[in-house]
């Protein structure tokens, strides 16, 4: 159940409950983030069982190291997404490297390209899921429903100006998925998202 704008209070309380070793908190954490974690891992790895494995790793990590999350750095959701991203990309790189040593066909370049694509696609998914609902709704209409911006404005009962603004802003947010930041800190999972 993805709840938007969960207050940071929830995040801090969750962290305290996990640190206290409350199993019920772990269940709630899973209920809130499992589909996010599994979805991102699946986007990177393209495999159900591998995504299951990452899901397990992510929750084990949070359960064993709840103190690793710093509420001052942003929402728990972003932190969990960033952790998932890191672990999934790590797994992809490991499996692709293993395949590379067995198969002379591939190249390191291809591997890096594949990793980069998977990484950007997963970040883009996260950005779309996390962007304000009005922006997502406008993109959804224009892209998936093929409505032009005037029709989208009518559908959403907003001005045409506003429809244009939302489409542009939504794409601007989405385009940050291409940005690469410092290694180890996947971009796109910032506090604003």
């Amino acid at each position: 159940m993805a709840k938007k704008d969960a207050p940071p209070r929830w995040d801090r309380k969750m962290q305290q409950r996990l640190a206290r070793g409350e199993a019920a908190a772990l269940g709630e954490l899973y209920d809130r983030f499992a589909s996010l974690v599994h979805g991102l891992a699946h986007r990177v790895l393209g495999d159900e069982r591998a995504a299951d494995g990452i899901t397990r790793e992510v929750f084990v990590h949070v359960w064993e190291h709840p103190e690793a999350y710093d509420p001052k750095q942003g929402p728990l959701r972003s932190w969990v997404a960033g952790l998932t991203h890191r672990l999934a990309v790590q797994r992809l790189r490991a499996t692709e490297t293993a395949a590379l040593t067995q198969d002379t066909e591939g190249s390191t370049e291809e591997l890096e390209r594949k990793v980069r694509h998977a990484s950007v696609a997963a970040r883009a998914d996260y950005i779309v899921q996390s962007m304000p609902t009005p922006l997502r709704a406008a993109l959804e209409l224009a892209y998936f429903q093929r409505r032009d911006y005037r029709q989208a404005a009518a559908d959403l009962s907003i001005t045409e100006d506003e429809a244009r603004r939302r489409l542009r802003l939504g794409l601007q947010l989405l385009s940050t998925a291409h940005d690469t930041g410092a290694p180890g800190a996947p971009p796109g999972y910032g506090g604003a998202a």
Binding site: E22, G27, D52, V60, K114, Y149, R168, S175
Partner: protein, 495 residues
């Protein structure tokens, strides 16, 4: 129009068709020289569609670079009967070649040209100021503006570097839009992940074992509700149960079922000192049905999806609270109005109800739904088997069951006439049900009847979804005793 066909073919490669093609396309978006090549081909294609008739006159205007671009990127170029040189025209203004790839089709469109391109390019170009054109970039990148606006934006991109950069970036972002993958998580994954975590770091405050079926069943139901739209929330559901040995039913909706679960779970919440979800609404009677009917009636509108959040919060709160009160809360009792259950049995009962109603909901919206895990199913069956002797005694008092045999011979804790309940399948087992008194002990030596049923079938019977006379049970022995037990099992059901 084959120029447009070429454009279209290229376009599909460029983004949304098939996963294989997508990999390649990303590259093109990333590397500038490829983008350049692409835009040339597309630019020509565009002009082909709009001004096919002008091609021969103005075709010579295209420079060598453009011709190469059209040949290599625009698949349709060389085969274009209207453009034998394979180089499209630059239209009216060769200096305004768009630097940016043109609108691309979305996934639903295969082989059809974009609507905007079918409209003739306006003879009088739209003149818009920079500010307006900039604001249009998002809509343009999504192919969501008019043909006039598209042309105006593209003219502008040839002369405005800042807008061209942003256009490139936004067009690249469009390529990142993907349909969300179906997120039907394997419900068993939750248990596996949580167990894995708890193995690695044992909890200081565990969820009591008798509360884990409720925890698992509420999580499963919540996952079922995940993707429900309004149609599903308002789908009709018929609640069925047995009252006075007659099949009874009550019509409601999916949201109504959730309101029912929430108001009855509230009995446990109240017993634990948590807030009553009924709020100020006075229940007709302190029973599951009395609370539900009052809750339904109290709102002016039928329940909606908004019931999901408070239901889920309450179920999380229950699991959390019983974890803290732990051992001691096992002695707490939950009053259901006309009967009382110890807290740990009440939590099992709520898990059972949650599953039964999740089945009702799943059936109403035509979704598949699995039975609980064998371990949990076993505990639910065990609860029913444990309460059967008391229910039998009560029914006997009301004259609904045959009189006890040799009542005076059965001392408390002593063996008495017994029915062997054999539950088959995963989660099954054997239970010895004392027939004459709840105080008697079941005894294999005093077995007078044997009933064999599948676990899920038995639960359907106890839920009132299968009439006792029709329950697919293997039977041997005292027919009267068997009938009494099957009817008693059905009488466990309620709204």
């Amino acid at each position: 129009m084959s120029g447009a066909g070429g454009f279209e073919a290229h376009d599909e490669q460029g983004g949304y068709e098939g996963r294989g093609a997508r990999e390649g396309s990303r590259d093109r978006e990333v590397f500038p020289e490829d983008t350049e090549k692409m835009s040339d081909g597309l630019g020509n294609g565009d002009d082909d569609t709009g001004n096919a008739g002008d091609d021969h006159e103005s075709g010579q205007g295209a420079d060598a670079h453009d011709a190469g671009g059209a040949g290599s990127a625009g698949d349709g170029g060389p085969d274009d009967p209207e453009d034998p040189e394979g180089n499209g025209s630059q239209g009216t203004d060769p200096h305004h070649t768009p630097r940016i790839p043109l609108p691309r089709a979305s996934v639903e469109d295969t082989g059809r040209p974009l609507p905007a391109l079918e409209e003739p390019v306006p003879s009088v170009p739209l003149v818009l100021e920079h500010r307006v054109l900039k604001a249009l970039l998002g809509a343009w990148a999504l192919a969501a503006c008019s043909a006039e606006e598209t042309a105006a934006v593209e003219d502008h991109l040839g002369v405005c570097g800042a807008c061209a950069d942003e256009a490139l970036r936004l067009r690249g972002a469009v390529g990142l839009l993907q349909r969300p993958e179906s997120l039907d998580l394997d419900p068993g994954l939750r248990t596996r992940v949580l167990d894995g975590c708890l193995d690695r770091r044992p909890p200081r405050i565990p969820v009591p074992e008798w509360a884990t079926p409720y925890d698992a069943e509420t999580a499963r139901l919540d996952a079922l509700l995940q993707d429900f739209g309004d149609a599903e929330w308002h789908a009709p559901v018929r609640l069925r149960w047995f009252a006075a040995d007659e099949a009874t039913s009550r019509r409601t909706t999916v949201a109504g079922v959730m309101a029912h679960l929430m108001s009855v779970d509230g009995l446990v919440a109240v017993a634990l000192g948590l807030d009553d979800p009924m709020g100020e609404v006075p229940a007709d009677a302190p029973t599951p049905a009395g609370r539900t009917e009052a809750y339904w009636r109290a709102s002016h509108f039928p329940p909606t999806r908004s019931v999901r959040t408070p239901w889920r919060e309450q179920s999380h709160d229950l699991v959390r609270t019983v974890s803290f009160t732990g051992g001691t809360s096992g002695k707490l009792e939950v009053a259901y109005g006309d009967f009382v259950l110890p807290l740990h049995d009440a939590m099992l009962d709520r898990a059972f109800e949650c599953w039964v109603h999740a089945e009702d909901i799943a059936q109403a919206v035509d979704y598949p739904y699995e039975p609980p895990s064998p371990r949990h199913l076993n505990r639910m069956i065990d609860l029913a088997a444990r309460v059967l002797p008391a229910v039998l005694a009560e029914r006997r008092q009301k004259g609904l069951a045959s009189p006890a045999h040799g009542r005076h011979l059965v001392s408390a804790g002593g063996p008495g006439r017994t029915l062997r309940l054999e539950i088959e399948g995963l989660g099954g087992g054997e239970w010895l049900i004392p027939l004459d008194s709840p105080a008697a002990a079941g005894s294999a030596e005093h077995e007078v009847a044997h009933v064999a049923l599948d676990g899920v079938e038995f639960c359907q019977l106890a839920a009132g979804h299968v009439p006792p006379a029709e329950a697919a049970a293997g039977q041997r022995g005292d027919r009267e005793a068997i009938r009494d037990v099957l009817f008693a099992a059905a009488s466990l059901s309620r709204m």
